[in-house]
Symmetry: C2
Subunit: 456 residues, 2 copies
């Protein structure tokens, strides 16, 4: 069996901590068993490994998330990168074709598809493992996991089985119902309906057949080349709801969608994350603070304060799911970003009276990583090294740097830096434009930089 | 007549925007008639000038406020600097002695004493001018201004006149009453009582007599030298409440103490100062934001959000006067400071794994101003010039700098910089300690720096 995790989302519902390049699954607001901050994707990846699925798992994602996935899960995490965003049917098809055409997975192998961010017990992944058996035992086209509802939620989709599945491993699916009213949800639950948690399995060959039936290429490279022209449509809509026969297996444990501040703060280890003080008369208040400065809450019960480099949200618990609306209204440069080589944080930006711009960043390069060898046309940079040791190349000449050193990179100068140990520096950019687009990459790999060994 | 403004206060009630070096009177949250941001001290100074009292006014203050007063009111503002903090009786006595002993003010001249931050109409200062007449006309020791109460406030002190003063210029004071209950306040108002706004006038000679009666020096230098040993006591307590005869003149216009967030936000030009969005269901919410990032409020009515380099306060309007309690709990380096030469803002601070510290600041030197010539023992500094032109001296050698230049100042290097035009730079400090205390000043004035004209 292979597992495909779907990693997408712009994460605006968790503004200001999530943004276009840092979706909700990458926020390190949870705690790992050894007490370190952990993101949702790190938690799921750890859980997959601990139940023996680690080596079978792939992540399907967009180009914009490649760096942060490498940063959080390591450089070896197997990724299937979508050429563009086309919803889940094309993404899943691309993944299956990659596994069959490129990774040599046989067409009768079971493929289990999961969202990248379910907040669940480890027992959930045991259920995922059992999908292989269920699929073969039932002979169905699709095997799903349904979560046993704890309350008549109006937010979820429901899977209605042919017969109650208590005491049985699985049952046939009778129908699907999206976001019912509370009354309707109560009737569905009485009928034995389960929450659809977006987890399903099928045999690789089943999907190849589905593609052929639609006149789509059933080979990886051809499909990838056609990708940008495909219709964006969800797998649920295009396949799950139309399938000949689907079965569902119940899961009785904890399951949560931590996609909004009210849901996420409930799973936090305490009311304050980061620097913060919650004063009297503020029952139910939560502070999530990524900034270096303290947050104080006085006399505001049930408020959620989320503060990060991109902004500050002050929302009543019930209003907090509307953070997305605010995020859409506010135009803001991304102030914190994780990249394949480490992370940076914007400390200051200003447009000066003479039209020139300046930007100050704190940059951290992880041990062994390097920036691409590149050029800026419209700005100069000054690096003041704070800690660590590294190698710098300027116009093909290499030298070493350490804490206290200052490096000046003039506009038009080819440059790169590699961290020998974790390397932090303050970078001051100044010029007619200080934008990420002003970059010409010469090569990505340190080994490919020409003549980088200067004469001693 | 001379006017003495008392400028004190740690301003913790307006945390996080005010702090030990930036008291509430220095926050530029009001708007001047020409639409520019204005602080309370700038407003009062402008009002004094516009009613002809500008050239008669002095500010009594502590050393810690000298820089910010020069910054906001100009280098020529006449200051009387207290050697230490000793409450208002010693401060007023010091000021009067300075005027008599050093500025040649005759002992029968009227001295009017005002807090530095009354939020009042211009008419208030016309009343201040009339104190001179009232004092001479009545022959009383003290003439006070009493504000006509608008409601039975429990927060203020009340001045009870011998007879109602409506239609008359002034009346004798019968007694003072501090912070009455609401019922008591209603009875006082029915009696014709006025709010004590801390404004009073007396003749210089009266105070000299008071000092002699207490066995205290009645000469400026002797008094100043004894200052640190004086008892800290308020002028109200030591003089006003014990005086033979005091009269009070009513003032009917607007008067407010903008010392808490709920009072201050009511005088703001709109609900949002700085970058902010107030969403639906948030009636009565106010955002005061000094940061570069946006604040969004969702579904929290009557909340006050104050965000600045020192921290973020989220308080219900009614709870906001308790900001002081929070400020006392939080230990935080001052992140923004106005100095005689300009201002700086801390962008980043970190203590590294090897024990070294680093601090990044954005620094602005006003045109013509200079830093002292000084040395740091425990840190190096790197300056990247963002805008403007200036002169730098390093170890007695002078050179000029402009946008794009980088200056390195090693530990132990004597250095200074002067702005030829407004000069901004990013300063990265790194070393075993990056604290303001690590400074040895050689001289303050640019002219006194030795050999600063290096050979061409």
């Amino acid at each position: 069996m292979k597992v495909v995790l779907l990693s997408g989302g712009s994460g605006k519902r968790l503004w200001p901590l999530s943004n276009d390049s840092r979706s909700k699954q990458f926020l390190k607001l949870l705690k790992s068993p050894d007490g370190r901050p952990e993101s949702m994707v790190q938690r799921v990846w750890r859980q997959l490994a601990s139940c023996g699925l680690g080596r079978s798992a792939y992540i399907a994602t967009a180009r914009s998330q490649v760096d942060v996935l490498h940063n959080q899960l390591g450089p070896d995490v197997p990724l299937i990168v979508e050429p563009s965003r086309r919803d889940t049917f094309p993404a899943i098809a691309l993944s299956v074709l990659y596994l069959v055409s490129e990774a040599g997975v046989p067409s009768d192998e079971t493929i289990a598809v999961l969202p990248v961010d379910p907040y669940v017990d480890d027992a959930f992944f045991e259920r995922v493992q059992q999908l292989d058996f269920v699929l073969r035992d039932s002979g169905a086209d699709l095997a799903l996991i349904g979560v046993r509802p704890t309350h008549p939620s109006e937010k979820y989709g429901y899977i209605v089985p042919e017969s109650a599945v208590s005491g049985r491993t699985y049952a046939d699916v009778r129908r699907f119902t999206e976001k019912p009213s509370a009354d309707e949800a109560e009737r569905l639950i009485a009928e034995g309906a389960l929450w659809n948690c977006g987890v399903f399995a099928f045999r690789a060959g089943f999907l190849l057949g589905e593609l052929r039936a639609r006149g789509l290429p059933a080979e990886y490279r051809a499909f990838r080349d056609a990708y940008d022209r495909l219709t964006a449509i969800s797998f649920d809509y295009e396949v799950v709801e139309k399938v000949r026969r689907a079965v569902v297996m119940p899961y009785e444990g904890a399951w949560k969608d931590l996609g909004t501040w009210d849901a996420l703060t409930e799973e936090m280890d305490g009311p304050v994350w980061g620097r913060g003080v919650i004063g009297p008369d503020s029952d139910g208040a939560h502070v999530v603070n990524e900034l270096d400065i303290p947050v104080a809450v006085l006399g505001v019960p049930n408020v959620i304060v989320a503060a990060g480099p991109d902004g500050i949200l002050v929302a009543d618990r019930a209003a907090s799911p509307r953070a997305k609306e605010v995020a859409n209204e506010i135009r803001q440069r991304v102030m914190y970003e994780e990249r394949r080589w480490g992370w940076y944080r914007v400390l200051d930006y200003a447009k000066l009276a003479d039209g020139n711009e300046m930007l100050t960043r704190r940059v951290c390069l992880l041990e062994g990583r390097n920036l691409s060898y590149h050029v800026h046309r419209k700005r100069m940079e000054t690096w003041t090294v704070l800690s660590g040791r590294g190698l710098v190349v300027l116009d093909d000449h290499q030298f070493s740097i350490q804490a206290g050193d200052v490096v000046r990179v003039h506009a038009g100068c080819r440059h790169s830096v590699k961290a020998l140990s974790e390397l932090e520096f303050i970078e001051v950019q100044s010029g007619s434009e200080v934008h990420e687009d002003d970059i010409e990459r010469i090569c990505m790999r340190w080994e490919d930089i020409p003549n980088r060994h200067s004469p001693a």
